[in-house]
């Protein structure tokens, strides 16, 4: 019985962690202030 409870705790913790991470997701960020380029950029070093 104790072993079953321990396994259930591990399973619930795994689900809780993954669901939380996916629910939070990544932040959207902001639209870049950089313009759409209308000149040829210099060679990158």
């Amino acid at each position: 019985m104790r072993a079953l409870i321990a396994a259930a705790v591990g399973l619930v913790a795994a689900f809780a962690l993954v669901l939380t991470i996916t629910a939070i997701g990544a932040p959207s960020g902001e639209t870049s202030p950089k313009p759409l380029l209308t000149t040829v950029p210099a060679v990158k070093k």
């Binding site: 962690l17 959207s28 960020g29 639209t31 209308t38 000149t39 070093k45």
Partner: protein, 329 residues
């Protein structure tokens, strides 16, 4: 005490073993997405190229023609569309700026490309366009889906405003990476004039109606794709445009407007490969490294838990009595 430790180990074993498939098949499809705020530029060059001199209407050879492509994620628009689409959406405002050898504009073509952040499937919403014309794309553009497969895909050609298959042609090695090579050929197709051309005072949208001269285009498009991220690490295009018939050509059947083999500039190949390699590690973490690592760890912990349990159940060892010395006769 041993029993308690065994139960803790068992809980941890189940935790890590369960995390393995959850990460790969639940978390990865939800977490792997194109960020809506991405900004990226790309420079491609054709050396040499043939360009039409609009002053004399004669094609001429030039040393170099440059295509500057910018993709800019429009976060406000993506959030607006997400409200009705009900899924994560990316809106890319793109500009292809084509410059002659002197750096002056040959043409510019703006685009708005709207797609699902996870699958790269196109999303249709107000504002989707190519050069100001509303379009409804089918297929992918610019980028392949995460975990690209060895198969043909539908690819949207913005110049011709059509979708055609892009064929998987094999696996190659590029800068130490295993990449999938794709190829698409668009046969000669009548296309609209770009709205912005170096023709001061002339409305290019009315050019065909006024002169009867039409614009035609063909291209062979080549992409080398990192299959993990679906990002192109190299791209080339053998691109040709012609003007055909009408009064603008002064009796000629056709005139080359542009012809050239366009390749990514070396510095952009370097920076793209570096970017793809770092993103590739993140994707592999979720699809391979962590799931396999957690599965292995879970099995080791399970083994330890079973071992501790077995030891705790073993009966206490009988302490052997010291041998009694035999009595002396």
């Amino acid at each position: 005490m041993r029993r308690k430790a065994g139960l803790v180990l068992l809980a941890l074993a189940v935790f890590f073993t369960a995390l393995s498939p959850l990460l790969r098949w639940y978390a990865f499809p939800r977490l792997a997405k194109i960020p809506p705020s991405q900004y990226q530029d790309m420079v491609l060059e054709a050396k040499p190229a043939t360009l039409l001199d609009y002053g004399t209407m004669q094609p001429k050879k030039v040393d170099k023609l440059t295509v500057v492509q910018t993709l800019k994620g429009n976060v406000e628009e993506s959030e607006r569309i997400e409200k009705t689409a009900g899924r994560d959406v990316v809106v890319w405002d793109a500009l292809s700026f084509i410059a002659g050898p002197d750096g002056k504009m040959v043409s510019t073509i703006p685009e708005r490309y709207i797609f699902d952040a996870h699958t790269q499937d196109p999303v249709h919403a107000t504002g989707e366009m190519v050069d100001g014309d509303p379009v409804q794309r089918r297929g992918i553009e610019f980028k392949w889906p995460f975990l690209t497969e060895k198969r043909d895909y539908e690819y949207y050609d913005a110049r011709a405003r059509l979708t055609a298959p892009i064929h998987y042609k094999g696996t190659q090695e590029f800068r130490g990476m295993e990449v999938y090579y794709f190829e698409q050929t668009i046969p000669w197709t009548k296309v609209p004039y770009p709205k912005k051309m170096p023709l001061p005072g002339i409305d290019s949208t009315k050019l065909e109606k006024q002169t009867g001269t039409s614009m035609w285009y063909t291209t062979k498009r080549m992409f080398w794709i990192d299959p993990v991220t679906g990002a192109p690490v190299n791209g080339e295009e053998i691109h040709q445009e012609e003007m055909r018939g009408g009064s603008l050509l002064q009796g000629r059947d056709k005139v080359t407007a542009f012809a050239g083999h366009v390749k990514m500039r070396a510095d952009y190949v370097d920076s793209t490969v570096a970017l793809v390699k770092s993103n590739r590690t993140l994707v592999l973490l979720l699809t391979s490294y962590l799931p396999w690592g957690f599965l292995g760890l879970g099995l080791v912990l399970l083994g330890l838990a079973l071992w501790l349990e077995a030891r705790s159940r073993r009966p206490a060892a009988v302490v052997a009595e010291p041998p009694v010395p035999a009595p002396l006769a």
